[in-house]
Subunit: 470 residues, 3 copies
């Protein structure tokens, strides 16, 4: 039986000079609270504050990082209990799914998922063995017992994780009932919404028209024109803001920005209502809506985020059988110098505007994003995203961004997760990688240890609070 | 006179923690046999088993990695004895060529060619001095004497290198006489063919029509339609398989995949037979043939390889005077997310299909290939290829691929070489770089030393055997 | 009060093995003179040899690396005293500007600007404190006093910096009066011009026609045809050469090269004179002029440089208020395999031609540029440029270029600076990074320490002299 314990110096370079500095820097930030300004945790868990169902539904079923990898090795989605949307019978024995997962846990060696899970098992749940096929059931029982105890209820974990603010991500038509209930409950945990209107700004979405109808219902008037659409969005933003929202988010195919005349925008909008919109219409409309969103951000103060460049639902078989967000989103080439030009030219010099840009195309870090952020006051760079939220990925981000944009045009860490229990694991990793990166600068006499600690403090806590207005 | 000996810890980080682990891991795999599932060694050398001609023709004349670099410093191809295809008189004094090479050996400092040659001279031939202008003739004599001895005959070297399987790369019209003769000879060395039909699937090849005629002759019927063309390829694949072939290979300009209707395919094929095919026809035909090849792979079990993105024969002067494969192939931007979509959507979920993709565009590792391989069961990633088969190149491959695709969606090492004697050198380097990469993970407490050894074993031996069905 | 001194081992890896070798290598090149074959220092400072105005105008006002970063944090250009071109009132109190800069000096932590400034303050000016808001005035006074002393006059600094050759960059219409005066003065400092004809080869430049008129005036005949235009350029090149010029430079949007027929070229030229040229005309004309420039280089021996891929003046607000070169130039994707093909096919095999190519798109290093330079004799790679002239940037350049192109297809370091006092700082950093890179190869037993020292000598001194014909 193999026992394991997380090493206190994990992820730090083994060179003793760097390691000593990294430890020193990390120790100075380890106890800072967590601010999670962008993520996808379901707020309902904090309303009910019920125990999590079981280890399988806590760890595996909602986490496309995990079943993606298992699927890539020929393990069927149904064997992992991923709910089907078209009646395929899926495995319902959670212990059996857990066993299958445990037998294949070695696939995650060297991946951030492996790192996060090791943390969650070891630190959050106090499991003292590395998961494998043999100890699968035993560990299942241990976790299962714990999640049924008061110490592991969602609100209690939120507090134990020392989360100051947790932002969810919510459709423009969301009534934010959960957020309201949490506030009304008197519980002090700060769970705030983020306004993500993709479903009504993306004309290529097959559900666009019904989403618009839903928006109309919520607003109490028919969205019969572009003008009314804009009004509706402004109202929804105000509503979100009233419940603590400080940011918007835009998951776009391309970061292309372009302002249409009102007449053009109206024409395209009406074509879309008539289900006659073309691909070109959809492209232009998204480009125009990014301009509109920037304008609104300047007016209402919400911080704008752009997450471009993911080809969603690349595998139609998975989409048809299991729906969206099932590990089949694939990055593609991105371009920012031309695409963001119109937005930055019009709003990028405005002191009342903040736009945070993310990318899945690492070749844009040093080529486009760092130079843009190192010039335009409104533009800040989000941390390394999704596939790149990893030891090497976060290191490359700092290596390719810092020398051109400095540390202070970045915004701290986003955990961006659906997996609530992984939040402290992800922040632990991010803080360690930043500490190690800074330690490398100190070791090479590029910055002093005092400067490094100040920067670490800012990257971990101050920049995220300031940029996201938390 | 400078003497030199290869350092037992070469290529490992100098940090003592990493170096100790790297050594430990490498020691556990150093004596594993070599499986070479993709390469370009001429099988005839094992038929005749004659001594190699002389050091110059063994090392320099066939190796475009070497004369490419010399040419880039103004040394004419003719001075290096590269055979001309149009009557240019080339140097025939092999000692003179060797001297020229030796005088310029410093150009290879810091390159993989330099590393491989150092190994070949030192380990394979027992030369105890670093090659330079002064000792050129002496070393020529030493090598020349050795290659004339029985210990350095091709079959003996194959055995000394402990090669389990060596795959050649062969045109669809190849009669595989050499492979047959090797089998018939009773020698136990396993030399298998790989089916590479580029010459008949690429309509833009000026020799396409005569290649098709050759294919018809071999099959015994005229290839007068696309249908017959498909039949012919299926027959050739079966023939290759009967001689041990387990894989196909496709060297395409772009990895674009797209299925045509039979009618469209027939039309394009007939236009091509009439020498009327357009560039667009050629592009679509290649895209369709990749789909056809995937279908056939599912039927006959041959593993499919795609090597895209090399602009072949970039320098027409070299092509005209010396022919193809003369160091003037230049990589270009590649795109996989869109290009492979149709192939992966149709066949990528099929458990009977394996497609191994390579790239010369390293920006696609983390952006496209690792995410695709981390989802589609059929897709595996070939090792870092050609220009990137190097210390830094292999390290970047692991750094950019592992965190998203894991280790187990990669397929071990390909030496991909024409230079038979370089095979052990290349595998030595690859094993050392993987050992060092794994050691870095152990040193940072990301994986355990036991896990690292298990992974090293799999990367070196098990994954290549399993994926290539050896 | 914090004191600081530059560490003698700065920028070297902290690993003791690498550090020892790096120190050893660096010590062998530290006292080599500086050759600066490409830069933007104003030659007039050496004509008058007057003291620099004050610290603010010496360090901040001319350096877009600095005010770019300050601007990105919301500090207005006018507050930094950047001269406006349209009457905006700007700060004139140099001490106030200096204070603002000092208060925000932390923004440069981890950036090459921070590294260079630390060197300039510490080594050139002997300041023994790290600049900050509190000591700003004191340090201003110290520097101000020094620049007024004879030891800090431009010519004296040139000598103290041990500069052998300093190349400026000059428009084709420049009369080179300053260069003449320097020669006539009898001062031994070698300041040579570089021929940069962008203003007359780029038809999309709004001032193109008046630039052509200026060229006509200088040549003494009207530039009424393409033929005369070519003649004028040949004359200007000869004139530049007579004043010591050894190179030309071409700052192009894209490195696209394409030869037009004389008829086509004439037609486009006349359309441009008639102010009827299209965007396509401009693109083709630049492509053709690169071909013409290569032809001329073969004839007159001037070394050709191409600096492509910067989107100039991305922010129209800054352009309108402060003009060009104000920190708003943003890199974009570059492509070389196709774009340079025509130029390399026609001239790349010519032993009398040298073309040095730079890039801002690091993804092209290993994919396109190193393979091209590792084949074509005429092509050499300029060092990592602009945003990438940094610790990580220079390291990535060596890591991505060396294994394919070797060290000897690169050309040593370019400081490429407008900031005269930063020259020794930039060469110090470049030499240290190369030393450290080479030390890493020695530490991993890839090259010997003797080879490393030889290469360091060549990278620092011999290659730049040879390639730029200095």
């Amino acid at each position: 039986m193999s026992t394991f314990e997380l090493h206190p110096d994990r992820f730090f370079d083994s060179d003793p000079v760097i390691r000593k500095y990294a430890r020193n820097i990390f120790d100075s930030i380890v106890s800072l609270p967590i601010n999670s300004p962008h993520g996808h945790v379901d707020p309902s868990i904090f309303v009910d504050n019920k125990p999590f169902e079981n280890p399988t539904q806590l760890f595996i079923t909602p986490d496309h990082y995990l079943f993606r990898m298992l699927y890539s090795h020929g393990i069927p989605m149904e064997a992992l209990g991923i709910p089907s949307i078209n009646g395929i019978r899926v495995e319902e024995d959670h212990r059996k799914i857990w066993k299958l997962f445990a037998e294949n846990y070695f696939l995650f060696l060297g991946t951030p998922s492996g790192i996060w899970l090791d943390y969650e098992f070891s630190i959050v749940f106090g499991i003292k063995e590395k998961l494998n096929g043999s100890n699968a059931e035993k560990i299942y029982d241990e976790i299962d017992e714990k999640i049924k105890s008061p110490e592991f209820l969602p609100r209690r974990l939120f507090e134990k994780f020392r989360i100051e603010v947790l932002s969810t991500t919510d459709a423009s038509t969301d009534t934010l009932e959960n957020h309201k209930k949490i506030i009304e409950s008197g519980w002090k945990g700060r769970i705030i919404p983020c306004f993500r209107p993709d479903a009504v700004t993306d004309l290529s979405n097959p559900l666009w028209k019904s989403n618009i109808e839903m928006l109309g219902k919520i607003c109490g008037y028919e969205i019969s024109s572009f003008k009314k659409f804009v009004l509706a969005l402004e109202e929804r933003r105000a509503f979100f803001k009233s419940l603590g929202c400080t940011s918007t988010d835009h998951g776009v195919f391309s970061p292309y920005t372009h302002e249409l005349s009102i007449t053009e925008a109206e024409k395209i909008f009406l074509r879309a209502l008539n289900e006659d919109a073309t691909n070109e219409d959809a492209k232009l409309f998204t480009a125009h809506m990014l301009m509109e969103m920037a304008r609104m951000s300047i007016e209402d103060g919400l911080v704008m985020q752009i997450h471009p460049g993911s080809f969603r639902n690349h595998n139609p078989l998975i989409k048809a059988n299991y729906g969206a967000d099932k590990g089949a989103d694939i990055p593609m080439q991105a371009e920012f110098t031309f695409n963001l030009k119109e937005l930055l030219n019009k709003y990028g010099n405005n002191p009342n505007f903040t736009v945070i840009v993310f990318t899945l195309d690492e070749s844009t870090y040093s080529r486009e994003l760092a130079p843009l952020a190192g010039h335009y006051p409104a533009l800040k760079l989000g941390p390394s995203w999704w596939f790149h939220d990893s030891v090497e990925g976060m290191t490359r981000f700092r290596q390719m961004v810092t020398e051109t944009a400095g540390f202070y045009n970045t915004v701290g860490f986003n955990d961006d997760t659906r997996a609530f229990v992984s939040i402290p694991a992800r922040h632990d990793l991010a803080r360690r990688i930043d500490s190690n990166f800074l330690a490398g600068l100190v070791a090479r006499h590029i910055i002093s240890i005092d400067d490094a600690k100040k920067i670490a403090q800012d990257l971990t806590y101050n920049l995220v609070k300031k940029t996201y207005k938390l």
